[in-house]
Structures are given as C-alpha cells and as structure tokens.
C-alpha cells in the first residue's frame, strides 16, 4: 500500500514538547520524514529591554532567559561585565558562585529526570525527582531569598555570604539526594522499557557533532570530551577535582548516562566547595548602580550549563547602559539544525523523547 505523507504539529500545546515552541514533522506511516522547528510563541524582546536598562537592572531579565536553569545566565553576564571593566572578584565570592552553579545544575538535572522519564511513559520518577528538587530549592531560598529566580550573582561577586548553618544543611541534603539517586537509577536505567526506548535512538554521528554545533551532554554522549569548565576554567573550577564523563554512541541512552554521571560529579563538587571554601570578602562593591559606567569594549564569555555552553556577547559604549547583549544558549543549535538532522527516520513516539534528551529550551532561542 502506498503511504501518504502527513504533516503533524508537535506543540506549542502538546504534553511532549519541552516549552513554547512547535516542531512540525512530516510523517509516512509512523516514521518521520522531515522536521522543522518553529518559534515565536514566547518572544519577550529581552535583548531590546536590556539595552534600555542600566547594567544592574538587567539582572531581573537575565535570569528569565531559561526557566529550568537561570543561574548560568547571571554568571555569564556578570563575568562579561567584569571582563570589560576589569573588576576583580574576591576569592570567597568565586567559591560561592561555583556552589550556586552546581546547585543550579543539580536542580536542573532533577527536572530533566522528570522530563526524560515522563516522555518514555514512566511517570513515577518525575514525581519523585521534582519532589526532591524542592530540597535544593530550599537551599536556594535560604541562600538567596528566591526559589527559582535568584539574582544572586552580581558583577564583583555575590550579594550575600552563606547564612549560618548553611554548610550542614547543604551537606545533609547532598547525603539525602545521593541515597535517592540510587533509587532513581534503579527505576530509570535498570528499566527495560527505558533501555529499549533509549538505545539506538536519536543518534548524532561523532564525526559531525562539533561541526553541527552540538555542545554539552549531547556532545559528551558522542564520546567527545568537551566542557567549558575544563576547556576555559572560570571561577575556581581549576582548583576542584572532578571528571567530565563521556560515553560512546551518540544516542539518547548515551546522553542519559552522561547526565547520570554528571549529577554525581555535581554532588562531589558541592561537597568539595563547602569543605575548601576560604573565609574573607565575597563582594567587590560596585559604585552607585544608577551612575555606573562601564568602559567601552566587547567581550564574549561562555559558561557550562546543563544543556551545554551558554555564551554572552556583551558590548559597552562607555555609558551606563549595555550597548548590546547577545545571548546564545545550547538550544539555539540543538532545537534547529541538529533536530532537523536527527529526527528523520525516527518513530513519531520518539520525537518528544529525543527533544528532552537534547534539552531544547525555547526561551533561550527567542530572547
């Protein structure tokens, strides 16, 4: 029987989509023939708004560039401003920044557990991990005052020092999460449904990965060791002991394994930071923010987020407002060109499964 080609719209209202975007796929039978991504449901003109605010006011916008993981955005912008201005960050400020980054990574991984298992039809794990994520958000609340959006990392350091008793509470949370991870992994990685669904699906060829702009866990899932934290160590990552896990295969399974190992590394980094953090100043105070001018200059700064590298191109023309802030998250390539290349030949039921493994985050695409 001759099969008819049908167009199917996944999103913007669809349980399997990873945010406000649409993946338009053409299918023959159950097989995807071609795919194209459409955005425009979430545009909030953030980059334009930033141009109309002063250097510090931008922070209320920055954290909203990516809902599941706002902190890398703050850090990247702060580092870019510091690079243009030549502002030093006190040693303790750097350690607290790394602590915030790794806590952010941890809570974002917990959300990923929910998304990845939910798109395979395993709903229990999502309930567990999103519930346990609240313990990390509690730590954030105590440290920064906010649960999801923090606006905690500022040019020159961080806003506050660690509260009293934070170290013990954070260590207890890490112990608890480590125990829970064993249960998670039993439920997900030992599950034959997940194994069969994930293996050999959504393969990114190793020889094309870098050229296609693949970054982060998907790139490490192709067996390529690349991580901004070791390629261009920022803050105090060069003083910490951690490994960058890589797995061969380039499929959803390899990407999941990379994330499984990275969570363990994040917990280990948090423990090291809490133990080794020196005493001292945490904030190199900036002048009056309303009159704070940054010398003219340009800087491109990258940070490793859960989805891959986040890059900020910041331009100053010597005034109290940014001239231009151009943001690029991992999803900008992952959700467009890479997805268009790996979806053809896949089954319809695997589309949202692959989307979750690539970490397609629409607010990062249309800033």
């Amino acid at each position: 029987m001759r099969e008819k080609e049908t167009t199917l719209y996944i999103g913007p209202q669809h349980p399997g989509i990873t945010g406000n975007m649409m993946v338009k796929i053409k299918i023959k039978g159950d097989t995807v023939v071609s795919s194209s991504t459409h955005v425009g449901y979430l545009h909030r003109a953030f980059e334009k708004l930033i141009e109309q605010r002063n250097w510090l006011q931008s922070f209320t916008i920055l954290c909203r560039f990516c809902v599941p993981e706002p902190d890398p955005m703050e850090l990247t912008y702060a580092r870019a401003v510091e690079e243009i201005e030549g502002r030093e960050v006190p040693e303790r400020g750097k350690w607290i920044r790394v602590l915030v980054m790794e806590l952010a990574r941890l809570q974002s991984f917990m959300l990923w557990y929910g998304g990845q298992s939910g798109s395979a039809g395993l709903y229990t794990l999502g309930q567990w991990s999103v519930g346990d994520r609240n313990y990390v958000l509690d730590l954030f609340e105590e440290l920064t005052g906010g649960r999801v959006y923090h606006m905690f990392i500022w040019p020159g350091g961080v806003r506050r020092d660690l509260p009293k008793g934070f170290k013990d509470k954070a260590l207890r949370t890490m112990d608890y999460l480590e125990k829970r991870l064993v249960q998670y992994n039993k439920l997900l990685f030992d599950n034959v449904i997940f194994q069969k669904r994930a293996q050999g699906v959504g393969i990114i060829p190793k020889d094309k990965a870098i050229e296609w702009g693949v970054v982060g866990p998907p790139l490490r899932g192709c067996g390529i060791k690349s991580d901004v934290r070791i390629d261009e160590p920022y803050e105090v990552y060069d003083k910490l002991d951690f490994i960058v896990p890589t797995f061969e295969g380039g499929d959803v399974w390899a990407r999941a394994l990379v994330r499984r190992e990275e969570i363990k590394q994040s917990i280990s980094i948090i423990r090291q930071v809490l133990e080794k953090m020196p005493e001292g100043e945490y904030y190199n105070k900036i002048p009056n923010p309303m009159k704070w001018k940054i010398p003219a200059g340009e800087a491109y700064v990258r940070t490793e987020s859960v989805r891959g590298e986040v890059g900020f191109y910041v331009v100053s023309d010597g005034t109290e407002r940014p001239r231009r802030v151009h943001v690029k998250g991992a999803a900008y390539t992952h959700a467009f060109t890479v997805l268009d290349k790996i979806l053809p030949g896949q089954n319809i039921s695997d589309v949202s499964f692959i989307l979750n493994s690539m970490g397609a985050c629409p607010p990062e695409i249309e800033r």
Partner: protein, 192 residues
C-alpha cells in the same frame, strides 16, 4: 614574544599571511581579526578547514548607528588549540547585504534568519521561511537602535477603557468606595 601567547600569535600570523586582514591577540585564548565582508566566506572556510576551528560558538550582530554600520562577529572555537577566534566584519547600514554563509556551517541558517528579521540584513540566497520569531511584522526591524519601543506601543496598543490616565489603582478604588487610604499605602504612590 610572550611564550604564553605563542599559539595565539601563530594563529594570527597564519591568517594575516593568507589574507589582507588586520587583527590582535586580546588575551590568552582570545584572538580577533577584522575582515572585509567580501572576504568573510573565504576566511571562515580557511579557519574551519585549514586551522581546525570547527565549532561555531556564536554569531553576534551589533548596530553601530552612529557610524552607519552593522557589525557581525563570528566567534569560533578550536577544541585543539583552546582559542576563541573573533572574526569581525562591518556591513553598510543603508544597504545591508551579505552573502549567505550557511553552506559553511548549517547553523548559520538560523542566525541569518534571525538577523534578517531583527536587523533587516539581507543574506543573498538564504533559504528559510521569512518569519522566524515575529508574526506579520511590517514595521522597522525591531532590534535596530532607531526603533522606538515606546512609540510603537503607543501607536499599536491602547489603555483599557477607564484606565487612560494610568492612575493609581488604589486611588481609583477609594474614589469609588469613599474609603481613606492609610499613610503607609501612599508612601510610595506615584500620585504623591
């Protein structure tokens, strides 16, 4: 020569030897070259195929309205050298035309579609739907510096009937009910 910047200087020398371009070593791991727009495809292909700069990390577009130019910056990373190369070019703002480059890196297609829509730069031969983020947009490309967001919203949107004066909500309510506004509530009021 500073030994720390040896690799950076070597890269800069190789590019300046092959092409008539100028450049600088900014710091460790950062090199910039200024290229005429006609040479951009050739320089990008050279660094990608000959020098191993395979990862196109980012492309930025900046509107320098005072100088009548757009700036395009291609940020390319080499996993082997651990150097970020900035390839910068300027395009005339009055006639913003550039060659389509998505044959070199596929992901440039997405950037070009965005810049076409947000800055009005035409990429000759670019294939891809005209609408990327905006829908039915017939005004000036909105990321240009001379696009006035306040004026645009005044022209296109209106206040809800009864809210034209944008008064303090609490005052409108108390006028209606006759209640007194306590001092602490008026402390930061715009009406004061």
């Amino acid at each position: 020569m500073d030994n720390e910047l040896l690799k950076e200087q070597e890269l800069l020398n190789a590019i300046t030897k092959a092409y008539d371009v100028k450049g600088n070593v900014i710091r460790k791991g950062r090199v910039e070259v200024f290229v005429k727009k006609e040479l951009i495809p050739s320089v990008l292909l050279y660094v990608k195929e000959q020098k191993g700069y395979k990862h196109l990390s980012h492309v930025a577009c900046i509107d320098w309205i005072e100088q009548g130019e757009f700036q395009l910056t291609f940020n390319i990373w080499s996993h082997a050298d651990k150097i970020m190369l900035y390839v910068k070019t300027r395009i005339d703002r009055e006639n913003p035309v550039m060659e389509n480059l998505d044959g070199i890196w596929d992901q440039l297609n997405t950037y070009e579609r965005e810049f076409r829509e947000m800055f009005g730069i035409e990429f000759t031969g670019l294939v891809g739907e005209k609408e990327f983020i905006l829908e039915d947009w017939d005004d000036m490309p909105p990321m240009r510096r001379d696009f006035d967001t306040v004026q645009y919203s005044k022209d296109h949107y209106y206040f809800r009937p009864g809210r034209e004066d944008a008064k303090d909500v609490r005052k409108t309510l108390t006028d209606r009910t006759g209640e007194e506004i306590p001092d602490y509530a008026t402390k930061y009021s715009r009406e004061k």
